[in-house]
C-alpha cells in the first residue's frame, strides 16, 4: 500500500444550532496520519470529538473545512466504504432480525452475496463465539453479545481499514481479551485499525500509536513508548533491622517515601545517585528484595495532558 490508511488536513467541524445562533466547534483543524497495517488508538474525554472525527471520515457527517482521505481516496465518495469496516458506539440493529440475518443484511449492503456471504457469516459467528445464538433474534442479545455481533459485522467485507468505537464496551474481561486477540490477529494480516476507547490500559496494550484529543484539538500524538517514558523513580521492597530507622529518617537522608508493608518510593537524579543509595542501604544491612523502575502509564499521561490542556497549556 503506497498511501496512508488515514490522512487528514486541518479537518474541522462546527455544529450550528437552529438559525445558526449557537455554534459548537466539535473538531478544530485536525491534521493526522495513520500508517497502514497499524493499530491507532484515539483517546479523549467525553465530547472531545473522537466520534465526530470517525463520522467525518465515513461521510456520516460533513466537514466544515479541511480535507481527508481514507485508503488514498477522498472521503466524499461512498464506494471506498466497501474496503472499510465500522463498529459504532451504541449501534442499533433491527430487533426483528436474528444474529445471522443482521450479518446477511449488512453483508449485502457491503456488496457481498450468495455462498461467499453465507460462508463468511458462519466463519465470523464462530470467531466471535455466537454460532449457537445465530438463530436468536438480536433483541434477546446481551450488551456483550451485541458488541461481539457488531465486531463480526465490522469484519464482514474483509476490510482494509476498521473503525472501532468502544469495541469492548459491556464485554466481560475474558471477552475483552478475546477481542484484543482478534485485533492483534487482524494487525498481523496488515489491516489498519482505528480504535476509539476510554479503556486506556487496553489501548496501551495493543496500539502502535496514540492520539489524544481534547475539545476538538489533537493535543498529543506518538507511539505508546514515546508517551510513557520511564522516570528516575523506583519502587523498592526492603527488609532488615534498619528499615524502621530508614522510615523515620527517610526524608532527611534520601528522597524516599514509605508506601507501607516494606515498600518505598525512591526518587533519584541519575543512576550514579541510585547506586550510591543502594550501597548505603547495604552498608546499613538492608536487603533489597525488589526494585522496579517507575514509568508513566498512558492513564497518567492522559490525565496530565488533559489537565494541562484545560489550564491553557500550564501544568
Amino acid at each position: 500500500m503506497d498511501f496512508n490508511a488515514i490522512e487528514t488536513s486541518t479537518l474541522s467541524k462546527v455544529y450550528s444550532s437552529a438559525f445558526g445562533r449557537k455554534k459548537i466547534e466539535a473538531l478544530s483543524g485536525l491534521t493526522l496520519t495513520v500508517a497502514p497495517g497499524t493499530i491507532f488508538g484515539f483517546l479523549g474525554p467525553n465530547g472531545a470529538g473522537k466520534t465526530t472525527f470517525v463520522k467525518l471520515l465515513l461521510g456520516i457527517t460533513f466537514p466544515t473545512s479541511g480535507s481527508a482521505k481514507i485508503l488514498g481516496e477522498d472521503i466524499s465518495g461512498y464506494k471506498i466504504k466497501s474496503k472499510i469496516g465500522y463498529l459504532p458506539e451504541n449501534h442499533k440493529y433491527p430487533a426483528y432480525l436474528k444474529g445471522s440475518e443482521v450479518l446477511d443484511f449488512y453483508g449485502k449492503l457491503s456488496g457481498m452475496d450468495g455462498d461467499i456471504l453465507r460462508k463468511k457469516i458462519d466463519e465470523l459467528l464462530e470467531l466471535v463465539q455466537l454460532t449457537q445464538w445465530k438463530k436468536t433474534k438480536v433483541k434477546a442479545y446481551s450488551k456483550g453479545m451485541m458488541q461481539r455481533l457488531g465486531l463480526a459485522q465490522a469484519l464482514l467485507n474483509d476490510p482494509e481499514l476498521i473503525f472501532l468505537d468502544e469495541p469492548t464496551d459491556g464485554v466481560d474481561p475474558i471477552g475483552r481479551k478475546e477481542i484484543r486477540d482478534i485485533l492483534l490477529e487482524l494487525k498481523s494480516r496488515n489491516k489498519t485499525i482505528f480504535l476509539n476507547s476510554h479503556l486506556l490500559s487496553e489501548v496501551e496494550q495493543i496500539t502502535d500509536r496514540v492520539g489524544i484529543l481534547n475539545k476538538g484539538k489533537l493535543i498529543k500524538e506518538g507511539t505508546v513508548k514515546e508517551l510513557t517514558q520511564k522516570r528516575e523513580e523506583y519502587k523498592l521492597s526492603l527488609e532488615g533491622a534498619a528499615v524502621n530507622d530508614l522510615v523515620n529518617h527517610a526524608n532527611n537522608e534520601f528522597n524516599l517515601t514509605s508506601l507501607g508493608e516494606g515498600y518505598f518510593n525512591l526518587k533519584v537524579t541519575d543512576s550514579n545517585e541510585l547506586n550510591k543509595i543502594l550501597d548505603a542501604f547495604r552498608a546499613k544491612g538492608i536487603m533489597i528484595k525488589e526494585m522496579v523502575q517507575q514509568k508513566d502509564s498512558l492513564e497518567d499521561i492522559f490525565i496530565s495532558l488533559i489537565k494541562e490542556s484545560e489550564n491553557g497549556g500550564v501544568k
Binding site: 465515513l58 466504504k81 466497501s82 459504532p88 442499533k92 426483528y96 432480525l97 449492503l109 457491503s110
Partner: protein
C-alpha cells in the same frame, strides 16, 4: 439497484415484524369473506341483475367499488399510520451511522426505504382487490379486468402521501408531523380544494381569489380525485378521462421526494 432492492426487501421484513402485514392481511381476508357472504345471500344476484337493467356492467362495477372504497380508505389510513415510523427508525442514532458507513449512496438508501413502504401497501391492496374481484367475477361470471387497475390508483395515492411522510421524517426525525400532514391533505385539503375549485368556483367573482384558488389547487396532490373519479374510470374500463389530477399529483410526489433526497444528502448524523 441491488442496494435499493436490499433496503426495499428489509423494509418489507420490518413491516412484517411490526405486524403491519398480518393486520392488513387479516382485514383484507375478512373483507373478502364479508363480500362473499353478502353476495351469496339468497336472491342477491337475481335482484341485482333485475335492478341493474341495461346498465349492468356500470352497476356491477359500482357495486364492486362500493365494497372496495371504504376498505381502501381504511387501508390507506392504516398504511400511513404503520409506515410513518420507517424513516425516523432508520434515522435513529446507531442505526443510520451503520447504514451510512456501507458502500451505498444516501439516495439509494432513501429511495429503497420509500419503495419498501410502497411495496407493503401494493402487496396488501393487490391482495384485497384481487380477492374481491375474484369473488364477484366467480359469482356473476363477469370478468371485469379494469377493476384490477384500481390497485395502482390506490397505491399511487399512498405513494403521494408517503412522500410527505418521508420528507417530514427526514426534517423532524419523528413520525407524527408527517403523519398529521398526510392525513390533513388526504382527508381535508384535497376534498376541500376539489369542492372549492369545481363546486364553489362559479361563485368566486374576484380574479385574484380565483388565481389563488387555482394555484393552491394545482399545487397540492389530488388524492380525493385519484381515489374517486380516476379509480372509478379505470374500474369501469373507460380509461383515465382526465390526466390532470394524475400528472399534477405525480409532480407533487416528485417534488416532495426530490426535496427529501436533497435534504438527506446534506444532513449530518
Amino acid at each position: 439497484m441491488k442496494n435499493i432492492l436490499t433496503i426495499t426487501w428489509y423494509s418489507l421484513r420490518e413491516a412484517m415484524a411490526r405486524k403491519v402485514f398480518i393486520s392488513f392481511f387479516i382485514i383484507s381476508l375478512l373483507t373478502i369473506f364479508f363480500v362473499a357472504f353478502i353476495i351469496s345471500m339468497p336472491n342477491f344476484v337475481k335482484a341485482f341483475v333485475v335492478g341493474a337493467g341495461n346498465n349492468f356492467l356500470e352497476s356491477f362495477t359500482a357495486l364492486e367499488i362500493m365494497f372496495i372504497s371504504p376498505i381502501s380508505l381504511i387501508g390507506i389510513l392504516m398504511s400511513v399510520f404503520s409506515s410513518a415510523s420507517f424513516i425516523p427508525v432508520m434515522l435513529e442514532k446507531g442505526n443510520i451511522d451503520l447504514l451510512l458507513s456501507k458502500p451505498i449512496s444516501r439516495e439509494q438508501l432513501l429511495i429503497g426505504k420509500y419503495l419498501g413502504g410502497i411495496a407493503v401497501v401494493l402487496i396488501n391492496i393487490a391482495l384485497l382487490i384481487i380477492g374481491v374481484w375474484l369473488v364477484f367475477s366467480i359469482k356473476f361470471s363477469v370478468w371485469n379486468f379494469g377493476f384490477l387497475l384500481t390497485i395502482f390508483t390506490i397505491t399511487f395515492t399512498f405513494a403521494i402521501l408517503y412522500s410527505i411522510i418521508v420528507l417530514f421524517g427526514i426534517l423532524t426525525k419523528s413520525s407524527a408531523p408527517g403523519m398529521m400532514i398526510a392525513y390533513l391533505i388526504f382527508l381535508i385539503v384535497s376534498p376541500v380544494l376539489y369542492s372549492v375549485k369545481y363546486k364553489l368556483g362559479v361563485l368566486i367573482q374576484s380574479s385574484l381569489v380565483k388565481g389563488i384558488v387555482d394555484f393552491v389547487y394545482y399545487l397540492f396532490p389530488k388524492t380525493s380525485e385519484l381515489m374517486g373519479k380516476t379509480t372509478y374510470d379505470l374500474a369501469t374500463g373507460g380509461g383515465i378521462t382526465n390526466y390532470q389530477p394524475v400528472l399534477t399529483s405525480l409532480g407533487f410526489l416528485i417534488l416532495t421526494l426530490g426535496i427529501a433526497v436533497a435534504i438527506f444528502r446534506k444532513k449530518d448524523f
